[in-house]
Amino acid sequence: MSGMAAAIRLAHFGKDVCLLERHNVIGGLNSFYSIAGRKYDVGLHALTNFVSPGVKGTPLGKILRQLRISRDELDLNPQKFSRIAFPGINLKFGNEFALLEDEIAREFPDQMDGFRLLLKKISEWNDNELDYPDISARRVVSDCLTNPILIDMLFCPLMFYGNAREHDMEFGQYVILFKSLFYEGFARPFEGIRLMLRVVREKMKDAGVERCMKLGVKSIQSEGKRISGLELDNGRTITADKVISCAGWPETLRLCQDEPEDSNLGQLSFVETINILNRQPKELGIEDTIIFFNNSQIFEFCRPKELVDVRSGVICIPNNYDYSDNRQLDEGVVRFTAQAHFDAWRSLDENAYLKEKSYWFDALGKVGCKFLPTGSFDSIKEASIATDMFTPTTVKKFTGRFGGAVYGSPLKNKSGRTHLDNLFLCGTDQGFLGIVGAMLSGITIANLYGLRDD
């Protein structure tokens, strides 16, 4: 998404832009696939950063303006409500921030002063600066809140929806995510990611972007401090004045034949199971849009010891958005997501891979359902008419990210600059998060290095 946003900006203002995509579908992590005529979204649980029409000065408004997309084109339908579910405690939240505040006041009355202090620190954080200092979010949050359960409950959704670092995150990233999930909120186009991709594809066409599908970059060649050529998968070499890479920071360095440092390889990947149901989830009593659950005493966000860490995860129910005109998805969908170990999945042979997929499909569903009104996984299985599951190796295959690292590298390159003067980075490794963030990253980098210094 970031690369396409950059391409639209540059081409709109008259640059000759060629977009190279190795896959046969655009979108990178935010894409879709078909099995037996049924289309499955990847990536998009929710479009975060959702604000109502008329709310200005937020990331969503910026990308719409910068890409000349009108709000109506995206058909954004708000979430009903979501939930952070820990053993014995639930915090509901929605697109109105007051709901979360009320919930915290009810469950953690003695933490309210601290929570207000945290909100103050968030509002004082200058998130317009590209180069913010790397401060531990755990430290800042612990200075405000004393209850470890509340601290973890607030971290849980933020980590699952965008943290590339194990255990902790930069406070700057905490602020970006806190705003995009809690102050702003969730929405979804009725058609899911396919609509967003169609809108973006049309904008690229209108702007005059030349799009080359199934054509990746094999290597980046340089002379001195400049790129001299891009060697493509088909053996050809092309040249360009400037190159913006959305392949990821370590992945881009590898294309330049520089070995990335191990410390900058993302360790966090996920499995996701998809259950297609013959009825609406609400008929099973499931009303939430997204549930972030944790089933153990402490919440751990790190590469699991086993193939999957089913102690915590995310449950997404795309049916449970407030679709306008009483629209309703034809089939029920329940998706479970959990942290997974890339190397462990990669080491499996074909048979073992299939066996483990089937085992963890059930294991994750069983734990997740403890946080659903259904209680057991059986009622979902009974209603199931199709299932699928993707693993860290699937993510690696389709995004090219080392280690299937969904949120990229733990160290972000906020300036977007590299060791080569005419090679720039955009996307998740530049430090913006989510679909809206990815697009904002592409826009920011295109503006700074492609349009500003003419």
């Binding site: 709109h12 203002f13 008259g14 029409p53 008329g54 200005k56 000065g57 408004g61 910026k62 719409l64 303006r65 910068q66 000349r68 009108s70 709000r71 826009i443 503006n447 349009l451 500003r452």
Partner: protein, 94 residues
């Protein structure tokens, strides 16, 4: 933009050009009651990205160059017209 319109470019004409560009960039803003003398920023929700876009649309659509040092000249509709008038006039000569 046809040559003829450029030839008759008045300050009001320039103001409406700038308003048209703002409408393209920020279709969600109400432009019906803009006071020309008051800073656009004080009447509309426009950030630095939006101002950069006004500059770039002027270049794209009319071939007008606004160097970064002069961006403050675009603060209000009135100052836009004053600043851009000689630039539009220069286009006719070229």
């Amino acid at each position: 933009m046809t040559k003829q319109i450029l030839n008759t470019m008045t300050k009001d004409g320039i103001k409406s050009i700038v308003l048209k560009i703002i409408a393209e960039i920020a279709p969600d803003e109400d432009l019906s009651n803009i006071t020309p003398e008051v800073r656009l920023r004080d009447q509309l929700e426009l950030d630095s990205m939006d101002f950069l876009d006004i500059v770039m649309e002027l270049r794209k659509q009319y071939g007008i160059e606004v160097p970064e040092a002069d961006y403050q000249e675009l603060a209000s509709l009135e100052s836009c017209a004053n600043y851009l008038e000689p630039k539009f006039a220069a286009l006719q000569g070229s």
